[in-house]
Symmetry: C2
Subunit: 371 residues, 2 copies
């Protein structure tokens, strides 16, 4: 493999923009569309790598921002890189920290040069430039890395949205110039808030810079399902067909299906793990609040259709007991169940695309789960 990644579109759905593909990375092949669980601090919360493999996870996401602050990207590099450090010899993607700078950090100042912000851990002032961002991601060593971007909130006035977009495009070029490892693929991030013309312009200008893949950022920040779908359509139709497309931080099953139908190949989100820890389970028949009293003496599995460790090994009554008693095993089992649900949702979506019946599949899924 001369390039860090190779991507092939295997099939395209006749009725939607959905496509099935193969993403070859230095740490293995990922079948797309794919869902990546979040391993924010170099661990997918409450689970082991072996458990993640057991529920079919192919690729993980880790957060450069978090890892740069703790334990430090230099330390991870010294320990042999992120794959070795966290015991995950399969593909990894790191996001740049652009999103966390805007969601987590207080007292930030954005300039053309970069972002000054205070660490959410100890308040220390940090200057994150596009060059430093790439240095962090080169140190971490993920298969796919992200440019530094400016993620604007919703709603944002058009002039401000354009400024953030222009800054992100400028940073994309600087990230590309700074990127020093030929075994990592650097993805651009398309911004433009909820303005279809900005989204299209940003996609065109990023595409012209010839990145090995394109992410779509700044969505799922409060704009709602329909506006998100419109922005996706405005973006993906302008991106090169032969490059992978990654929708960042999305989302609920209905959002993910909308993304796939708009030609998105990769998604990540904390929803399966965070909701799982809060007692909410996803199933094909809809969502289940596992802490509810109704499950107190229910000997049946959470989801009889599911093959995850929680559903194969335990009753709803036991899962509820663990959650009510505050036992960590409850968080682990709920997280594994939800991750398995998202992984299977994507695997079933892929099969539907290969069979040319994705539109029907999507309608059936949304109907079955009563969305």
């Amino acid at each position: 493999m001369n390039k860090p990644i190779e991507f092939r579109v295997i099939a395209e759905d006749p009725d939607t923009g959905a496509r099935a593909g193969e993403l070859h990375t230095p740490h293995g092949v990922v079948l797309t569309p794919t869902f990546m669980p979040c391993g924010t601090q170099a661990t997918v919360k409450t689970t082991t790598p072996a458990q993640l493999q057991g529920v079919g996870v192919n690729m993980l996401l880790c957060n450069a921002y978090h890892l740069a602050l703790r334990p430090g990207d230099d330390l991870v590099a010294k320990m042999g890189g992120l794959h070795e450090f966290m015991g995950w010899p399969h593909p990894i993607l790191t996001d740049s920290g652009g999103f966390q700078v805007f969601s987590l950090a207080g007292l930030r100042r954005v300039t053309e040069g970069g972002v000054v912000f205070k660490s959410h851990i100890d308040g220390k002032e940090i200057f994150l430039t596009p060059e430093r961002c790439i240095e962090i991601e080169n140190n971490l060593g993920a298969d796919i890395i992200m440019i530094l971007d400016e993620c604007a909130p919703f709603p944002t006035e058009k002039a401000v949205a354009r400024a953030a977009m222009e800054r992100t495009i400028g940073w994309a070029a600087r990230c590309k110039a700074a990127h020093a490892r030929d075994d990592q693929a650097l993805f651009a991030i398309v911004q433009g808030c909820t303005y279809p013309d900005l989204r299209a312009e940003c996609a065109d200008r990023m595409a012209a810079m010839d990145f090995p893949g394109y992410a779509i950022g700044g969505l799922s920040v409060g704009e709602g399902h329909d506006l998100m779908a419109k922005m996706l359509a405005a973006t993906t139709t302008r991106l090169p067909r032969e490059k992978p497309r990654y929708l960042m931080g999305v989302g609920l099953p209905e959002d993910i299906l909308a993304a796939v139908s708009n030609g998105v190949d990769m998604c990540d989100c904390v929803i399966p793990t965070r909701c799982g820890r809060n007692g909410l389970a996803f199933t094909r028949q809809g969502r289940v609040k596992m802490r509810n009293l109704t499950h107190r003496d229910d000997a049946s599995p959470l989801d009889p259709e599911c093959d995850c460790p929680a559903c194969r090994g335990f009753s709803r009554a036991y899962l509820r007991h663990l959650l009510i008693a505050g036992e960590v095993l409850g968080l682990t089992l709920m997280s594994l169940h939800n991750i398995r649900y998202f992984i299977r949702l994507m695997a079933r979506a892929r099969q539907a695309i290969l069979d040319g019946r994705f539109r029907r599949f999507m309608a059936d899924e949304l109907h079955a789960a009563d969305y």
Copy 2:
């Protein structure tokens, strides 16, 4: 098997009281001496049953007190019993709740009839009689169950110690009369605080009642290692050779070795899991505080001699990162490592007994770990 359990002494150490045995239960054979991790609320904190099997756990302990309060012993019975409920098809022992009544519950009154106490969860007043205690344990369905006992604190005046001992002996007879399942073995508990004559008298009187096994309670409550060892010697020498002996809630590796050398066959303790969650690891070379800065960039495993998931898969640097970042995976890996250490300590002790070299083995272990 006509009796719920069968116990065979396979070998006796020539120089100490240590012995190796086989304990046959309705859910499998346990090689003794054995260590049981604590699954207080029907889960060994932060671990799955598969992970526990993976580190060699044979038998678990669960707490009748905790499970009676939450989720309720009637619920566990309805769900098919504790083995089925918690997904552990191997041997289980339940303690009666006597210890928790004394360590956890506020505002208790002890009478000949039983103990009135307030739930540590909601303050509800509960009357625990020997009969109710056995009803709870019959509902839970463990292979080995315990009588209700009165566990006195250290130090306790002799008259009070005698009164608690007499009450425990009276309750033992009532528990025996109430016990209704022939697939569960009811063990007596020897009390007597730190008075060797009381310990001996209690052991004799319990032995005369012909229980299928004998526990030693009321130790490791502040009396210290040497006094504990003296009380053990005063007790085990009076107990029938052919019955299993179980030391409750002990302890550190040096305490466990002292117990084995005094003829104890079974131990349980929260130490491996609780210490693990607090960042303390046990190894043959001594204890390791995994949160210490010295491990920050240490690429070596926690214990190169250990075959647990933490030591086979991860570096000290990663374990420390997980603990410092507050990630649950750190608690899981540390717990599994410590459980594995205790399981291997007992397995090595057993082999040393079979080889007739337990005294030397114990001295070497204590020396290597610098105890």
